[in-house]
Amino acid sequence: MHTLEAKNLSKSFTLSERQRRSQDLPSRKKIAVDDISFTAHSGEVFGLLGPNGAGKTTTMRMLATLISPDNGEVFYDGKSIKENPIEIKNHFAFLTTDLQLDKKSTANDMFDYFAGLYHVPKEKAAQRKKELFSTFGVDAFADTKISKLSQGMRQKVSLAVSVIHDPDFIIFDEPTNGLDIIASRDVRDFILRMKEEGKCMIISTHLFDLVEKICDRAAMIVSGKIVVNDTLPNLMQGRSLEDSFYDIYMQYQNKQG
């Protein structure tokens, strides 16, 4: 059983003067994430919901160590990711449509490359390739350049590549963004399969139906703050998740107003 804890994460960005004027902000400092804390455990799917610009992607990027928080820390089984980045990254996978594969390479090349970067031994990498390519149906286009694959095929390759090292935590930002129905279903099935294998999935999305179908717990981010964090049944209280969150969102906006 593993635990990931995000503790008092904050992140701000400096806008250009033009951006400040267009967003009608009093200063060039924009607080993207404001003192966020949550915990996720093995064997669950934790959802991070929120409107566009709420701070979901920034939070995910901090968890994935792409960017550093201004304040706060991320802990994996009590160990700080700031102090042990290389060791802890071995337990994480980060997947988002923002992360692309090298278009000039093939699925085979990319798998081998990332197997090297994740320090997966050659024999294990070969075994994982066989399993994952079969699971995601990548065998059929393993030697085709990424540039020639459809969005759905690229997503499958990305999924296979991202879990080469059999991570404990999979951070998934907007998992079905830009995908057709079939590909979205494949991604959903992948998430549930990972959960069955005891992994923890942290997904950020603005799609309520996806959260309803796969999440065990969810938190809502509005303007960089977590306004609610609870189990799905508690959040929904017999209603649709969308209605529940809309009410919570309006209550929060009224309080701020």
Binding site: L66, K103, Y113, F114
Partner: protein, 380 residues
């Protein structure tokens, strides 16, 4: 760390080998540019001029003058004056020189003979022949006094080959460095800026690999390609130098194998420094197009600077600067290469140049590693 660097390096090298365009630019282009330079120069050269048939004629030339005219390419074929003049106008003939029937040299200046020279100034070959003829006829003009007439005395106390050497030595470094960089410009600008732009770099940065390892792996791949480019350019240089020697004929200057080895060693060191600088630009640039544009700037500065050294005024400034020239990264290689080909260099100058460039390259790579640890490397 070495394993991670090796993983990144192997992947980049594989990409380079698979990319035919980059391979062409690294291996073939530098040699081709130097080769074309040599080919163009040899085709413009006058060395082979004596083998070229000229449509140049004379009428009534005295026997002793006729021999001189034939030596510079005139034909002894009998021609009609008016017909020949028309041919010259139509560029079917180059030149006609007509001596009066009673041609003589008059030392008193009271009854001088007039030689008529018909040529076409819009015809380059015609102009060349006219200049050769004028030079020949100048030697025959009566002399009031002579200057440096004794052929057994060396009046010019300087190196008689200096101008020739200076021209070669000023051109070669700029050409050499430019051709090397041309070979790797696209690669160096894309290897970081391109990956950043496509978000592939983000995918690599989330792996449990030190960011500096990623930076170093990429840098080594570019340096490998640059080394191949340098070898290709150097092979082209060998052909170019041979063409220069053939072009210059009796004025040819000869360089020893040790000169070539020294130049090659200097080339490798400056390539290291240049790659470091190009990678900084690639890391800072927002996209690969900006990176390519910016990468061309330092190369052009080096190229122009190298050519300017053939200018006496600029050369005088550099001479005043003295040993400090060797302390300026990359520029020192241009300056050193020129001096290797022109006047010779000392061990201290060679060592200083190489050390400065290697240190500069290492500093650049350190800066690239530092930039990789900055959040701005992440493409938003």
């Amino acid at each position: 760390m070495f394993r991670d660097i090796s993983t990144v390096y192997k992947k980049e090298i594989k990409s380079i080998i698979k990319d035919k365009t980059i391979l062409l630019m690294c291996i073939f282009l530098p040699f081709a540019i130097m080769f074309m330079e040599g080919f163009l120069m040899s085709s413009m050269s006058d060395t082979n001029d004596k083998d070229t048939k000229h449509n140049a004629y004379y009428i009534n030339a005295p026997q002793d003058l006729a021999a001189g005219l034939k030596a510079i390419g005139f034909s002894d074929e009998k021609v009609n004056k008016d017909t020949c003049i028309t041919d010259i106008k139509n560029k079917d003939a180059e030149i006609l020189v007509v001596f009066p029937e009673d041609f003589h040299i008059d030392l008193t200046g009271t009854n001088v003979s007039n030689i008529e020279i018909y040529y076409n100034s819009s015809n380059t070959e015609s102009l060349k022949m006219q200049q050769k003829l004028s030079a020949l006829l100048d030697t025959l003009r009566p002399e009031v006094f002579t200057i440096n007439a004794d052929p057994n005395i060396t009046y010019d106390q300087g190196d008689e080959d200096y101008q020739v050497k200076n021209t070669i030595a000023s051109m070669v470094p700029g050409l050499l460095f430019m051709t090397i960089v041309y070979g790797i410009l696209a690669l160096a600008s894309n290897i970081i800026a391109g990956d950043k732009e496509s978000n592939f770099l983000n995918t690599v940065l989330i792996t449990p690999v030190k960011r500096s390892s990623v930076a170093i792996g990429k840098a080594l791949a570019v340096m490998t390609a640059a080394g191949i480019s340098a070898i290709s350019a150097f092979a082209g240089l060998a052909y170019l130098m041979k063409t220069f020697q053939d072009m210059l004929g009796e004025h040819a200057v000869h360089y020893a194998i040790s000169d070539y080895i020294l130049v090659f060693f200097v080339v490798i060191c400056v390539t290291f420094a240049l790659v470091g600088l190009l990678l900084i630009i690639s890391t800072i640039a927002k996209n690969s197009r900006t990176a390519q544009t910016l990468c061309a700037i330092p190369v052009m500065i080096l190229f122009i600077g190298s050519f300017l050294t053939s200018n006496a005024g600029f050369d005088a400034i550099l001479t005043k600067f003295g040993f400090k020239n060797y302390l300026i990264p990359m520029w020192n290689s241009s300056f050193l290469t020129k001096n290797i080909l022109l006047s010779g260099v000392t061990t201290a100058e060679i060592l200083t140049t190489c050390v400065i460039n290697i240190v500069f390259g290492i500093l650049c790579l350190s800066f690239v590693s530092h930039l990789f640890n900055n959040e701005k490397i992440v493409n938003e």
